[in-house]
Amino acid sequence: MTDYNFAYLDEQTKRMIRRALLKAVAIPGYQVPFASREMPMPYGWGTGGVQVTAACLTPEDVLKVIDQGADDTTNAVSIRAFFQRTAGVATTTQTGAASIIQTRHRIPEHPLTEGQILVYQVPIPEPLRFLEPRETETRKMHALEDYGLMHVKLYEDIARHGAIATAYAYPVKVEGRYVMDPSPIPKFDNPKLSDCPALQLFGAGREQRIYALPPWTRVVSLDFEDFPFEPSKAQHDCALCGAAGSYLDEVIVDDAGGRMFVCSDTDYCATRQAAGHRVTEAAS
């Protein structure tokens, strides 16, 4: 590769991003502004995550890219190909074998380990955004720990739906200080954020913010005493591998309303199937 600098971004940009990352790690949950660059993909396709990954990649790294849990969807395939071309790093689909995992909307089912880095693509980093449109005000609210409004949102959920209806991007409090948007992961994944051995980095390209959860950080999902947080998933087992405890995608299979539930984490499902966990046609 001579056409591009290693991992596409120039070294000065990587340095700037690494500085932001260091600050983000030092203040878990705090949104650090950074000078997001134009990337050769549209906003919303993971420009923030790509920049964070580019700043973290070394030639020895093994990269995995997930989009909604899957390794083989457009976003995942194209970002993986992007780094294969511009950085020449090895790639994998196996969670356990990867050293850097860039993800959109999911945390892998396979437990993460120390030394791994999980990079999230974040569309809107500000958890208070839809409650308070002014950025000057939300920054002040974070600075002053003025988080009553976050519970107003949950209150509204219960008042309107009888339960906390927020199912993704469920707000969390980091180490008892900053309220953070965990990116649009399903709330099923929220418990995995807490005390995770891996380093978790969040990049929002359009909004120009980076935040982070260092390994073993305490992350608590917000709730009420009488309406506690509940991670939720479809009440089924995976139709392919039979897993009972993994997050499921609902797939429409015909025009007659037929549907099946399969693991959203394709690597997890494939690994289980290879290990002999199969649901036979008769059983399903």
């Binding site: 002053l144 009553g148 409004l149 209150y155 509204e156 309107r160």
Partner: protein
Amino acid sequence: MSGERGFAGNSGRSLDEGSRAAPLLQVRGLTKRYGARLGCGDVAFDLWPGEVMGIVGESGSGKSTLLNCLAGHLAPDAGQVIFATRDRGPVDTVTLPEPERRMLGRTDWAFVHQNPRDGLRMAVTAGGNVGERLMAVGARNYGAIRTSALDWLGRVEIAADRIDDRPTAFSGGMQQRLQIARNLVTGPRLVFMDEPTGGLDVSVQARLLDLLRGLVRRMGLSAIIVTHDLAVVRLLADRLMVMKDGQVVESGLTDQVLDDPQHAYTQLLVSSVLQV
């Protein structure tokens, strides 16, 4: 400060009990300038617990500037606003750190805006509006928040079945009453009101005034009410300050000032009211 006459001690009621000990709010030399123009100049007064003070004057006389400076929404250029806090005694809120001033703003203070849209969250249900201050000071029990929201909606005469409606579905008078409920739910000791009856028709105004008077008396609230409506201060206020061009031109007991105005501007103001 010409025409300084009455002293609040005469106004009867709650001033007999213990309130002589210390004023709730002491304002000294409060000045706010907008460039060369004067917002309000060298305002000084004491507000005693349980006392309601009215500030009247024409548009542009600096009433709202003064109120916003007192409530910490605007930073005054000079002067002190000393509030008797529950735990630490008298504190100058002008120099108080922002987090503590905000904490005051959602516990011991309340601010009722003229336009309920400024004081309410229009996209949030009535219950959520009332509950916000509770949640901001740490309430985390949905049932308890809901119960006190219902209680407060009742006190401001909003039917319990409207708790899950948004303020956009409320009439102007209901919105204003909801705003009052939302502000009083944490049991504040000092309420700032900026034209609380502005923009309401007279019968709704009368009900709101009745309600306010009841709440103020029952909860022993202190209040500072800015208005240009002399009927409002006649009904609610123990004491009155008349402002013109950013200066306090006259102050004293409400009835004294209104029945026997000394300053030329006050005389004009009082005589401008249509007698029906």
